[in-house]
């Protein structure tokens, strides 16, 4: 049961270690923040803070939220990148063909959801493990993109002919707030509500924590798992749309770049939660931590490539603490 490994489960959250872990992590964010402010004076500048949010945070947050849905249901989705790419490709193609942008947006999200439907058929329908099913999807998706793009050529939008509505998604502002930030805010709130305030979210959480209990309680487990993966694809697709509009180009298989950090952020969030469950606020904090570290390391003038080492170590330490904590709890 993947659930047993992902959720150690706290007993009332009163263990000292629990608190230490949680506060240590929040303290880590604060410390990292403070350290960078001291080391790089520009770090705290409003322009930089906005840049953290827009450049580092937005896309990863959306992808990590998509991942959080799959992980909540006790699975994982390695094909979030495929959903991003498909959405992006559909979006660009329709805009190039002169279709209205709103239609292209809907079609883009639909094609991301379609990737989710494929996963759902494999996981909920046939019963393949999510890791293998989505790995297969990722590979097939890669080849399909090669076929669609004549061997992997990027699809550029001519800078002159880009509709204003298209540019707006990536570069527009609403009351001075960048539009992508508005979108990510809506996605966070919407997903947070869906996962913690609706029946669907409750059932998915129960499935993720103990599938057999959900099944023995008369829950339609396959249907809920199916919907979860479709949702994962659709949410990831939103990131694809913003990405495409920002760079005005579709590059085949570029979505996979988010995969590992999305998984990392989701599990950092899981560790942060008092109950050890995947959750949207935790995921968002995880993304924030990764974004701050990435941006801060850049600003402090430290070698650019140390960034990845730093984030990797960070994820490693967080996971280790989380599992040591679980082990201690199981012994107690």
């Amino acid at each position: 049961m993947p659930s047993t490994i992902l959720y150690g489960g706290a007993s009332r959250g009163r263990h000292l270690l629990d608190h230490l872990v949680r506060y240590a992590l929040i303290a880590a964010i604060v410390t990292v923040f403070a350290a960078f402010s001291a080391a790089a004076p520009t770090f705290l500048a409003p322009a930089n803070l906005q840049s953290i949010l827009v450049n580092n945070f937005t896309l990863l947050a959306i992808v990590a939220i998509a991942m959080t849905f799959a992980v909540s249901a006790g699975g994982i989705d390695l094909s979030v990148g495929t959903a991003i790419d498909f959405a992006s490709f559909t979006f660009v193609s329709l805009v190039l063909a002169g279709q209205p942008v709103p239609l292209a947006v809907l079609a883009g999200i639909a094609s991301g959801a379609l990737v989710g439907v494929f996963n759902a058929a494999l996981i909920a329908g046939i019963g393949i493990s999510p890791f293998l099913a989505t790995l297969g999807t990722l590979f097939i998706g890669r080849s399909l993109q090669q076929l669609l793009t004549n061997g992997g050529n990027p699809v550029y939008l001519p800078p002159a002919g880009v509709p204003e509505a298209f540019r707006f998604i990536g570069h527009g502002t609403v009351f001075g707030i960048p539009f992508p930030l508005v979108v990510v805010f809506l996605v966070i709130v919407g997903s947070g509500v869906a996962l913690s305030k609706t029946r669907f979210g409750r059932v998915v959480t129960a499935i993720g924590i103990q599938t057999s209990v959900a099944r023995y309680s008369g829950v339609a487990v396959p249907a809920h798992i199916a919907v979860t993966y479709v949702l994962t694809g659709a949410v990831a697709a939103i990131a694809g749309l913003i990405l495409t509009s920002t760079v005005t180009v579709y590059i085949p298989s570029s979505g996979n770049a988010f995969l590992l950090n999305a998984i990392g952020a989701t599990f950092i969030g899981t560790t942060l939660s008092p109950l050890g469950r995947p959750n949207i606020p935790g995921t968002v904090l995880g993304v924030l931590l990764l974004s701050i570290v990435a941006n801060g390391l850049l600003l402090t003038g430290l070698n650019f490539y140390w960034q990845q080492v730093g984030t990797g170590l960070l994820i490693f330490v967080v996971l280790s603490i989380s599992f040591i904590n679980q082990k201690a709890k199981r012994r107690a």
Binding site: R202, A206, Q210, V213, R215, G218, V219
Partner: protein, 513 residues
Amino acid sequence: MSQPSPQGATALALNIRGAVKHFGGARALSGASLAVRRGTVHGLVGQNGAGKSTLIKLLAGLHTLDEGVIEIEGQAQDTLTPHLAEELGIHFIHQDRLLVPTFTVGEALFLGREPRIAGTPFLDRRAMQRQAAAILDRYFGIRLPNSALIADLSTAEKQIVQITRALLHSPKILVFDEPTAALVRREADILFSLIRRLKEEGITIIYISHYLGEIEALCDTVTILRNGIDVATLAVRDTSAAAIASLMIERDIEEMFPKRTVAIGDPVLSVSRLSSPGKYHDISFTVRRGEVLGVTGLLGSGAKELLRTLFGLEPALSGEILAGGKAVRFKRPSDAVRDHLALVPEDRRGNGVALDLSVTENTTLAGLKRFTRLGFLDPARERAEVDGLIERLQVKTSGRDALLRALSGGNQQKVAIAKWLSRQSEIYLLDEPTVGVDVGSKVEIYKLIGELAERGAGVLVLSSDLAELVGITDRILVLFRGRVVKEFVSSDTSPDAVLAEATGSLEGRRHVG
């Protein structure tokens, strides 16, 4: 294996005295003793929870004693480990066969002490096959294909492989834990003749079984455990299955069962001629509103499988089920739940409640629709419902948001039942509802079952605790090897009489033959 000396034949191979073992607050053994003479077959019986498995795990070095002494071949062993137990020649034939399914018979037999081709680091597969074939032929007179994988073997064949694995270590004491539960009769007969042969070779056998007929036919001596203590050790030829059965049962707890008077109403669940090949055959019964029907049977009796079929967990081949007057065929539990069935499964922590969900989340999971408006949860209504049920069922918890992990077994079980109350189910299937539950909670659960019936639900209780079954049910069906062999009216019977039917002690001689 050497001939036992005349003096050795009377000496004790194993002597456990005054064993006490606590788990948390619960007392699993309270001064149990077990003295096994060398070269004999010694039966060990007792109801579930009597302390058999704890005693055996102590012997295997999996638990350590709180008090008491274990002597093996006259030597006191106070630091027994699994490894040391094996060194001392104690081997166990478990219910769950610890064999790697994708291994060949030879590989499974020699894992951990593999023969090598002389002078090389390589496995001598041929020697493994040769030796495996030789030993299988010598003890069992059977041949298994060299290429057969464990997964391809029958249950009996797997058991044979496991016994053979033990024999390769020249065991002194062999412990059989419910060895025939999954065997068909012919396979069991092969096992019995083997055990007699092993005894002739001087190996001491400890034989644990619920089938008292087997104990009568196979064992020299039998020790009866009850409530963590040995209540008697008898020479089998001087006693009978009925006498053993009556020693196994607790006498003075009848006041635990609240009496009730309930009007019996219309049928809510009718089963007719239900069959599933190899599991149960031609089962028919009816449960009415306000009625508590008891079902009992040993492992392998088909009772478990019957219950699984009723809840849509496994299919039946033929027969009919009527739930609430309507013909149903459940493909999955959600179908059964839709038709108002409820299952409180035996594996509470695996299937009944989720330890890492809160009391609230567990309680409302089955009937979540009642607490949802337009897809959104209604926390106020949920709180009211859960607080009401906590109060009504006397669930001891720090609050509705506590994780189930923090509750005792009895209170977890109450939540497992509360889930269905909250769903407003009408047909309750309770599978061993009081396993691992403390006495106080037991009484409360019995009361709750009575209340369910009073409110017009139909209740089916599957239990191997016969005093409980006789105490709380109206009628009892006894299953034996897949068939209903007897129906009792609970008020006219006794646990002894039910046990005699369930263990087949009345036909035991015929069985062991």
